[in-house]
């Protein structure tokens, strides 16, 4: 089969490229606003529902690990919330993205905007939910007499960017691959479960025996969760860990984006 470049569009001028970027910005904002609207349209308790899930998980872990197993961690409720809220963003985005191209098949076949915008919108949607749940973390911090400093502002900003790269990268990867292997969804569900227990969310990294530390090091989420906790609980950010983690996440994002781009010309055929 001849493999050469065979779809040619005339080169775009600088001005029309700028117009394209402005247009994509519109597209992303309109689609994200739509997701939020749809989510909250039919329920008065919309916001409450989106934080109820991590809050109830926190209660379960509080009971199982603090009350029953007596895990030696101070302020355990707060400790859990600091890990569970960012985790929720990651896991929701990845699970929704797995099927998102299938459920948007008509858009892919009938319109010609860049397809990566579809998983992007789902990642942004969960990111906004996470950001909206920060006031709850703040309230909890205050109740534990932790007074936030300026570190919260830049810490939240930096970590949101870093986690965005990771989440979007994995979402691109699973969304495109799921078109070719439709049972990937189940594998993703199992993977998410393994990742949840393999990430220091309800335990501390220091508890992990030396021989298993390797898994914490290769798990990009572990670094992020640790960083989130440092900011919320200690008003500080572990910069060496942050930069290493950011580099890792950007690599994952680039790989995900590359694979998605490579496969995206097949989307129209396969859907």
């Amino acid at each position: 089969m001849a493999k050469k470049i065979n779809y040619i569009k005339v080169k775009k001028s600088f001005k029309s490229q700028i117009m394209d970027i402005l247009y994509y910005f519109d597209l992303v904002s309109v689609l994200t606003a739509k997701e939020l609207k749809v989510r909250y349209k039919n329920s008065v308790l919309g916001y409450f529902w989106s934080v109820l899930n991590p809050l109830s998980m926190a209660l379960i872990f509080l009971f199982a690990f603090k009350k029953v197993l007596k895990i030696p961690i101070e302020n355990y409720t707060f400790f859990l919330i600091c890990g569970l809220f960012p985790w929720q963003w990651f896991s929701n985005s990845v699970m929704v993205s797995t099927n998102i191209l299938l459920s948007n098949a008509t858009l892919i076949k009938k319109t010609n905007f860049p397809f990566y915008i579809i998983p992007l919108v789902s990642v942004l949607n969960d990111m906004i939910h996470f950001i909206m749940s920060i006031p709850i973390i703040l309230a909890l911090a205050l109740s534990y007499k932790i007074w936030p400093t300026i570190a919260w502002i830049y810490g939240i900003l930096l970590l949101t960017i870093s986690q965005f790269f990771l989440t979007f990268g994995i979402s691109l990867f699973v969304s495109s691959l799921n078109l070719f292997f439709r049972d990937l969804e189940r594998i993703v569900n199992i993977g998410i479960m393994i990742l949840f227990y393999g990430t220091p969310i309800f335990y501390d990294t220091s508890f992990v025996p030396q021989r298993y530390k390797f898994f914490i090091i290769i798990n990009p989420l572990a670094g992020i969760i640790e960083n989130w906790r440092d900011i919320f609980m200690k008003n500080s950010i572990n910069f060496p860990l942050f930069w290493k983690n950011l580099a890792y996440n950007i690599i994952i994002f680039s790989l995900g984006f590359f694979i998605f781009k490579k496969l995206s010309y097949k989307f129209g055929e396969i859907l």
Binding site: Y7, D26, S29, L31, K41, T106, K110, R182, D183
Partner: protein
């Protein structure tokens, strides 16, 4: 249509095949267990277009007719750029707007007004532009009384009306239309045809797929007849339609 006109879409010996994805999409288990068949099938491909070449000139309305499954929609998808050809070259020299499905991206829980914004942006308009055109779009759709209701309460005809009304306010350079006028009542169909004619008068290049020979006659400057995945005939609407209708007598 003079021959000196600028070519805006050009197909040069284009072949497009589709794989038989059955074995792959059935899941990873099937793929691995039936690896030999899966590989065999992934080599065997279904030919949707065989070595076709044609040009569309700036400002003309180019009709495509043929049986179901002949490859008409594949041509539109190739122009739109959502799929790539296996062999040959395709040139597209202007911005393409596609009207392949009325109301792409409509969400049933959102109101007509909210869906106009959503659909307009998905079709390629800036949000500001959609908001400026909002009143005109509502006026055109004749759905003002329902515009703030969620569109799950609309009938199919009303949804199609709303979809076309948004598309009618695009500013396309090349417009692809795939058999979307078959909906709505006669009055609205007439309105759609008039709108397409006014696009044409404004110099928009149109590629138009339809099974309605009357529409083809009314709108098109040239018509291409696709049969068995290749071009049977290109010519004036009258001669091509005559031959086409002769063949299926």
């Amino acid at each position: 249509m003079s021959l000196s006109s600028k070519i805006v879409v050009s197909f040069e010996r284009v072949t497009k095949t589709y794989p038989y994805y059955g074995y792959i999409i059935a899941g990873l288990k099937n793929f691995l267990l039936k690896l030999p068949q899966a590989i065999k099938y992934s080599r065997k491909r279904f030919v949707a277009l065989k070595n076709i070449s044609f040009q569309v000139y700036e400002g003309e309305c180019f009709g495509i007719i043929g049986k179901n499954g002949a490859g008409k929609s594949t041509i539109l998808s190739l122009i739109l750029g959502v799929i790539k050809p296996d062999k040959g070259r395709i040139y597209v020299k202007k911005r393409v707007s596609a009207l392949l499905e009325l109301g792409a991206g409509f969400h049933p829980d959102l109101t007509g007004r909210e869906n106009i914004i959503l659909n307009g942006v998905l079709l390629g308009m800036r949000k500001k532009k959609v908001l400026q055109q909002m009143e005109k779009i509502i006026e055109f759709s004749e759905l003002r009384n329902f515009i703030d209701q969620p569109i799950r309460t609309y009938s199919l005809g009303m949804i199609a009306r709303l979809g076309f009304s948004v598309a009618a306010h695009l500013e396309p350079e090349i417009l692809l239309i795939d058999e979307v006028l078959a909906v709505g009542d006669i009055g609205f169909q007439k309105k759609c045809i008039n709108k397409i004619l006014s696009f044409k008068q404004n110099g928009v290049t149109i590629v138009f797929v339809s099974h309605n020979m009357q529409d083809i006659k009314n709108l098109c400057d040239r018509v291409m007849w696709i049969e068995d995945h290749s071009i049977k005939m290109i010519g004036s609407p009258d001669e091509v339609i005559k031959a086409y209708e002769q063949a299926y007598k």
